[in-house]
């Protein structure tokens, strides 16, 4: 401090007062600095997952999951828990395996020829790759919303009613009406469509169609909702509506979202997983991943240092 000759109340630029005596005593410089906040990172060569992959009382668990497309090793021994009532975002460059991993969570990869999955994925303790598991109810329990809204070429009502009917979740028309109404309400679409339920779902705007698809997923009582870039075909306003909806749905469901928008991941998720060339590089609380990542590859990606 060089300012010894100053009067105690010296003016600063803003006309505020600086208390020099307080300045001298105020700071405990003996406190240990938080050196881990410095630029000390796990190097790019390191491919083991950094961060806390497990959670207490998980909804889904993945252990040493490998996915192959023929000879292509698309997911390399990924272990990750998906917690209850949380939104977990999967980010990473194209081809990193995030969508492949997402699709292995409800066995959507079964439909792809030459695709092989090893390791263990459980939902509420049940191994979903057990040969005895029927994928139809599994995909109701773990629902999916796609990049482009894909309503059935049917009425708004039938888009929602179809699932509950084929899964035998309703006994009569009254019950079905109730399911349609609650699902549309939960998806934040009810007020916009309640007077035209008989009109085709394809006549809605893009954002409304996507909410219709979310309502359709909700109608069959899922536990987990997988979303594969649900807003990439939507304008910013429709995107904000969906993001707000995701936040509300979290109270009842577990949501896994794949997104290319890092801002979206940071806005909607509580945990973020970063994938790189089939490896799960880093997993952690979203605020940590975006403010203080521990792996150099994560840092490169989220700060826009690609390739």
């Amino acid at each position: 401090m060089v300012f010894a000759l100053l009067p105690k109340e010296s003016p600063n630029k803003d006309g505020g007062e600086v208390d020099i005596e307080k300045d001298l005593r105020g700071e405990d410089i003996g406190a240990a600095p938080r050196v881990q906040d410095g630029p000390v990172l796990v190097s790019r060569e390191h491919r083991q997952t950094v961060g806390e992959a497990t959670v207490e009382n998980p909804r889904m668990t993945c252990r040493k999951v490998n996915v192959y497309y023929g000879d292509n090793h698309a997911i390399k021994s990924v272990s990750l828990d998906i917690g209850r009532n949380e939104v977990i975002a999967m980010i990473g460059p194209s081809g990193c395996g995030k969508s492949t991993f997402l699709r292995s969570l409800n066995r959507m990869n079964d439909t792809i020829e030459g695709c092989r999955v090893t390791g263990e994925i459980t939902l509420d303790g049940m191994n979903i790759y057990d040969p005895k598991v029927d994928v139809v109810p599994l995909r109701a329990q773990v629902g999916m919303v796609f990049q482009k809204p894909n309503p059935f070429p049917k009425s708004i009502y039938d888009n929602i009613a179809y699932g509950p009917k084929i899964h035998g979740l309703v006994a009569n028309k009254t019950e079905l009406d109730a399911v349609v109404e609650t699902s549309l309400k939960k998806a934040g679409l009810w007020n916009e469509v309640k007077d035209r339920l008989d009109q085709p779902g394809t006549g809605l705007s893009g954002g409304q169609q996507q909410r219709l698809c979310i309502a359709r997923t909700i109608a069959v009582n899922p536990e987990v909702i997988l979303m594969d870039e649900p807003c990439s075909a939507l304008d910013p306003i429709a995107t904000a509506v969906i993001e707000d909806l995701i936040d509300e749905l979290r109270e009842q469901y577990t949501i896994v979202i794949v997104t290319h928008s890092m801002q979206q991941a940071s806005r909607v998720s509580q945990r973020t997983a970063y994938f790189h060339l089939g490896d799960l590089i880093e997993i952690g609380p979203t605020e940590v991943i975006f403010t203080n990542p521990r792996h150099e590859l994560t840092q490169d990606y989220i700060t826009g240092r690609f390739g």
Binding site: M1, V2, N12, L24, V35, R305
Partner: protein, 198 residues
């Protein structure tokens, strides 16, 4: 090794921001060196020059703020980049404040023109030299992102505090020994406070 941003203009903006903070720091360094010179040499001309020079640092701080806000809005920086920008803004605010204090020292030089200050000046020069060294070293630490060096510099503050407190004791003794000069000190300080506090 840090990689470059894919968007090169982003890297350039961050470098511009950093260079502005460095410019502020170098200005502070120069101002502080001049301030101690003006005090030792009782050079009121130089003191006035220092007071005028403060506006340049104020202007630089505004530029840092503007640029930082622009980058935050247009680039949406994350992680390390975000931290760098926030740190640059904080440092700019600190340098602006340091410059204000230096200008205050220069104002005192003008007010104390006719008063002999030999003893305290020795301590003040010592404090100034330590402070100058801290300023210079902290820039190296910033440039090299050297956390350990930064912590070491931070702890050096204690040395300056020690000199300051012994100087205070020394001044009190002087005032007791030669009370005829107390009113002169007082009137000059009061004058300063009335003028600058509005």
């Amino acid at each position: 090794m840090r990689k470059e941003h894919t968007v090169k203009a982003f890297t350039q903006e961050l470098e511009l921001l950093k260079s502005k903070v460095f410019e502020m720091a170098r200005e502070c360094e120069g101002q502080l060196a001049k301030a101690v010179h003006s005090l030792v040499e009782r050079d009121t001309e130089l003191a006035r020059y220092i007071i005028e020079g403060d506006s340049k640092i104020n202007r630089l701080q505004s530029e840092v703020d503007e640029l930082a806000i622009r980058i935050l809005a247009l680039r949406q920086p994350m992680a390390l980049d975000l931290r760098n920008i926030i740190a640059a803004q904080k440092m700019a605010a600190d340098f602006e404040r340091i410059a204000d204090y230096i200008a205050n020292i220069a104002k005192h030089v003008i007010d104390l023109e006719s008063i002999s200050l030999e003893k305290p000046i020795r301590s003040i020069v010592k404090m100034t030299n330590s402070a100058l060294e801290m300023l210079r070293d902290v820039l190296v630490a910033y440039q090299e992102l050297d956390v350990e060096k930064a912590v070491e510099i931070w702890h050096r503050d204690r040395e300056i505090d020690k000199i300051y407190f012994s100087l205070l004791t020394q001044l009190r003794t002087t005032m007791i020994e030669d009370s005829t000069r107390v009113s002169k000190y007082n009137s000059s300080f009061h004058g300063k406070m009335l003028r600058t506090d509005r």
